[in-house]
């Protein structure tokens, strides 16, 4: 039985300011849906202005205290720094008028970053997420130019530059199970990055997803050892699973039972659900809604958006019977797709997720306990096995 999640007004948008990219990553979900080529390459001024108008309308209508915008692509920096500055300035004006604070963020391949961009990010407090797959010999396997050239050196240079500025910075990598996670961690720590994520490669039942269980079990061991005496290494996917196993909340939409309620705005102003669902095939996220005809909150009446939300909360029979129902939540929704059943499947990574969570649960049981000032501490495992009379 799906749990009731109270819907709150939309206060977060994933905004595609560019539908094209300047590099050619072989695992990219975005270009798996060829319909993106029918979209304008870049968001126009008219679309940008209409978007801001709709955002302010939403803020006023619901008295929102905060609004988050993730600038995305393709490669969002193709939109140009002047457009970023203009958007950030307009958000400031909206903030002054409404009292709503904005959280702006960008996810980028980092290739185009220069001093002008750094100034923009720092001046407007824009969070920057860099996509980087660890050391060069792993990163350059998939993340290359259209001519097949390497991109790691440029990305590393951008990372180092951003680290010298007052910019909130994060790093996202994609798992490559042919390599030990220690290779990722050692590299990131070596370049001064102590908080990052390593995501599952995007795959559905129509693909042949790699086995990633051992990678993440090893990654958990690395995280656990690093954080024994003090918290000094943050790996979001690991911490999200731990949180779920302990009764807490995942920090990632990729694991944990919760609704999928993303609203994506495309370069032409059309409104769609989660963009990664494009791995399900051409036109799989298409709707008839647009910011030129619809208010932002209207997305909740859009059938495809509702179907996505429904699918995220109504899991397969296998998931419903699983001990990791809450912690896993069926994994990441796009990974549940099959042509035969749509999203009515467990994750294509189900076996891996089960193995990973079993491993972590076993380890946590030895290190989580009930503590009372006047009694010896009791491990959670013992507390459950031998309840006090």
């Amino acid at each position: 039985m799906p749990r009731e999640f109270v819907q709150t007004p939309v206060d977060y948008l994933l905004v595609k300011v560019a539908a094209r990219c300047n590099i050619d990553c072989s695992y990219c979900y975005w270009f798996r849906d060829k319909s993106v080529y029918a979209k304008p390459k870049l968001m126009s001024v008219a679309v940008r202005d209409q978007l801001l108008k709709r955002v302010e309308e939403q803020i006023i209508r619901y008295s929102l205290p905060e609004f988050s915008i993730l600038l995305h692509g393709g490669e969002p920096m193709l939109w140009g720094v002047d457009n970023f500055v203009r958007l950030a300035e307009e958000c400031r004006l909206i903030s002054n008028r409404t009292g709503c604070s904005f959280q702006l963020s960008v996810t980028t391949n980092g290739v185009l970053i220069d001093e002008n961009w750094e100034d923009c990010f720092e001046r407007y407090g824009i969070h920057v997420t860099i996509s980087m797959d660890g050391p060069a010999y792993i990163h350059d396997i998939h993340r290359h130019t259209f001519q097949g050239g390497h991109t790691h050196a440029l990305v590393l240079r951008a990372l180092r530059r951003l680290q010298t500025r007052r910019i909130s910075l994060g790093v996202l990598a994609v798992c490559n199970p042919a390599h030990h996670p220690r290779e990722f961690v050692d590299f990131f720590v070596g370049v001064g990055v102590d908080h990052f994520d390593i995501m599952f490669p995007d795959a559905t039942f129509e693909d042949d997803p790699p086995h990633v269980a051992q990678f993440y079990c090893d990654l958990f061991d690395i995280w656990f050892d690093a954080n024994r005496e003090e918290r000094k290494l943050e790996i979001r996917s690991i911490e999200s699973i731990i949180a779920g196993l302990l009764g807490g909340r995942s920090k990632s939409e990729a694991v944990g039972y919760s609704p999928q309620e993303h609203c994506t705005i495309l370069t032409d102003g059309s409104m769609e659900p989660l963009d990664v669902l494009r791995i399900a095939g051409d036109g799989s996220t298409q709707t008839s809604f647009s910011i030129f005809h619809n208010a932002i909150e209207d997305i909740k009446g859009e059938p495809r958006w509702n179907a996505v939300r429904h699918a995220s909360l109504n899991l397969s029979d296998k998931c419903n019977k699983c001990q990791f129902f809450e912690a896993c939540g069926g994994g990441y929704l796009p990974h549940r797709f099959s042509k035969r059943n749509g999203f009515a499947n467990p994750s294509a990574y189900c076996d891996d997720l089960y193995t990973i969570m079993s491993y972590m649960q076993s380890a946590l049981g030895k290190h989580v306990y009930l503590d009372h000032p006047s009694r010896n501490r009791v491990s959670i495992g013992d507390a459950i096995a031998y309840p006090r009379a």
Partner: protein, 94 residues
């Protein structure tokens, strides 16, 4: 240890008496238990209403620690900032 839920934890804490807390000898795990401890406090408060990341209780609203829209999105990652601040309540239309 089976996967924990707030109900299981609440029961265990009650059974072990007032003053019992949940903790870990691993500092990383113990940090993550901070959110669980907050949730347990909300769980015990009949007036607390959980709106996903927001908790309303005692006449105030809080955005839950370590949970914000940007970090939650798989497509983005930024270090979560402390979020235990008091927010104005949602106005009309919610």
């Amino acid at each position: 240890m089976p996967p924990l839920t707030l109900s299981i934890l609440t029961t265990l804490l009650q059974m072990h008496g007032a003053g019992t807390t949940i903790a870990s000898d691993n500092k990383g795990v113990d940090h993550l238990l901070g959110d669980v401890r907050e949730l347990l406090a909300d769980h015990a408060d009949p007036k607390a209403v959980v709106h996903e990341a927001r908790v309303r209780g005692h006449g105030k609203e809080y955005l839950k620690s370590g949970y914000d829209k940007i970090t939650y999105s798989r497509s983005s990652f930024s270090k979560a900032t402390p979020y235990d601040r008091i927010l104005p309540p949602y106005g009309k239309g919610t």
